[in-house]
Amino acid sequence: MATNTVSPAAPAFGRVSFVRTALVLMRLAWARTGSPLLIIGVLAVLALPVLFSLVFASRGALSGDPVDFLLARFDTIVSGLATPLIALLLGTSAFSAETDDGTLLYIVTTTTPRWWIVLSRLLFAALLTGLLAAVSVFASGFVAVGLSDPEGIVTAYSVAVFYGGVTYASLFTLLALLTRRSLVVGLIYVLFWEGALSETFQAIQYLSVRKWMTAIAEPMMQGGGDGVGPSALYALVGAAVVVTITVYLGGRRLHEPRMGRIGS
């Protein structure tokens, strides 16, 4: 085979499109995220609320009020467990894997603005988490009460988990850039901060994404909320702050990614 060492003409640089760049970064993220193990993990977490609904539906009238049932499941299993766990898996997997094996280098040795890289990865994790969690909420509601949606609970929580998916995904995307043990740190955060402490201490409600999700859902349900804890506006501003901090700090971190050795 003849060697081809003749250098072709230098290619031209043009105006860079965010959408085109984001699609490439999302594709690269999927190439690192789409492992069978991770997909099974995500589907297992998503199936949890649906399984609870199946048990509820199978017991008919013995199970009690469907509204109370759905409110309790959406608050605990969906908002407090399934949504943050999916966001954790999807938010940390790409950056963590790329940092560990050094392939992040192929992304950061480009002219792409660093904050574009973070925002694209955040969007990837947020959209997937939000959509998957919303589907899980809708499926749980459908199994428990059909399409009737009493008091607008299913619609309200579908919107709330989408919001929660974006917020949690932002947090965990940043975590993946700040620490190499993002999965462990994220799991501790989900179980202790969101699972235990936010239920125990009143003040922590204002710093809990789970409670922010409830604040988003309540105004959309008939009867609204009890007025205790953060408002929907507070929750929206909180999410905006989280996303902004993630993009800013994550972008700064990617300038000097601290990958350790780029050698073997």
């Binding site: 081809n4 640089f13 094996d101 792409t112 000097e256 780029i262 073997s264």
Partner: protein
């Protein structure tokens, strides 16, 4: 972010130091990398990879300054229009094809004709015929060439390669050398690291020798070869009559010291290995001594580097 001027010197290290916590990885290194191929030689842990990372702006130096085409590379993504880094690690996104991977790089670099640029880069490394296969099934050599295609897709003016010949068979190695030489002739500055002198002396016009974070020596490969050959050597000789041989050798000007080691062995220190090789044969012949074994005991690269640092 200022525009990068490719007319400036490709790469300058000006008294650069870098440390990780208490560990000094690079210690007061000053060097200039001009168009052409420059080898960065040193044993593992010498600081070669850190130096390449500093050149690519992946981290700032703890002391001194790095200049790439006159610009500070850290926090300056614009330099990657003209700079490429090929890491040693073989990991690539396994689900993607080589073409998809190189096209992804071309998009992230802001090239206008992504497909054409990727095709040209893949042809350059002879990967165009297998470019649509998933990277996961590639051999080490194919991965190495895919990495190179991804690095060369924007035709950079400065290419930094970390141990690029690892995993390549002789034919692939020759092809990569020809490829780098062609880039160098076209005006590209190539800085490639290796811990094997033979690997880079044939291709690099200038070699920087690193040891323990310091720049131990620099020059063309002939200069370095001479420095390495002309250093004091210790040679262990096994012969039929070591005492007779020792009495002949000890009077020779090229011999610094002779030590009899047991009944049939001799350790000789010499300042001129080439001259010693000739006189040893003559001394053995004149003393009617049979030579069983002549073994240099300090020929490892670490010994050579240690000597260069002590000079």
């Amino acid at each position: 972010m200022s525009a990068v001027s490719v007319s400036a010197t490709p790469l300058v290290f000006d008294h650069v130091s870098h440390w990780y916590g208490d560990v000094v990885a690079v210690n007061d290194v000053s060097a200039v990398v001009e168009p052409g191929i420059t080898g960065l030689l040193g044993p593992n842990g010498a600081g070669k990879t850190t130096l390449l990372q500093l050149a690519a702006g992946l981290m700032g130096p703890s002391g001194g300054a790095v200049r790439v085409f006159g610009e500070t590379p850290v926090r300056n993504p614009a330099i990657f229009r003209h700079v490429a880094l090929v890491p040693e690690r073989k990991a690539l996104p396994g689900m993607l094809s080589a073409r998809a991977f190189v096209e992804a790089r071309a998009t992230l670099l802001g090239l206008t004709n992504v497909r054409a640029a990727a095709q040209a880069a893949l042809e350059m490394v002879e990967m165009d015929t297998v470019a649509d296969r998933a990277v996961a099934g590639f051999s080490k050599g194919m991965r190495q060439r895919t990495k190179l295609a991804a690095a060369l897709v924007q035709q950079p003016r400065l290419v930094l390669l970390d141990e690029p010949f690892n995993g390549l068979d002789p034919r692939q190695r020759l092809h990569m050398m020809q490829l780098l030489e062609a880039r160098a002739k076209a005006g590209t500055a190539v800085l490639l690291s290796s811990h094997i002198l033979e690997e880079i002396e044939g291709v690099a016009s200038r070699i920087l020798v690193m040891l323990a974070g310091r720049l131990a020596a620099s020059g063309d490969h002939r200069t370095l070869r001479r420095m390495m050959t002309d250093r004091p050597h210790t040679v262990r000789i096994r012969a039929s009559d070591v005492r007779a041989l020792a009495s002949r050798l000890v009077t020779q000007p090229a011999v610094m010291g002779v030590e009899v080691d047991g009944a049939d062995a001799l350790n000789v220190r010499t300042t001129d290995y080439t001259a010693f090789s000739r006189l040893l044969v003559q001394a053995a012949a004149s003393a009617a001594v049979t030579l069983y074994e002549v073994l240099p005991t300090d020929e490892s690269l670490e010994h050579v580097f240690a000597y260069l640092v002590q000079r």
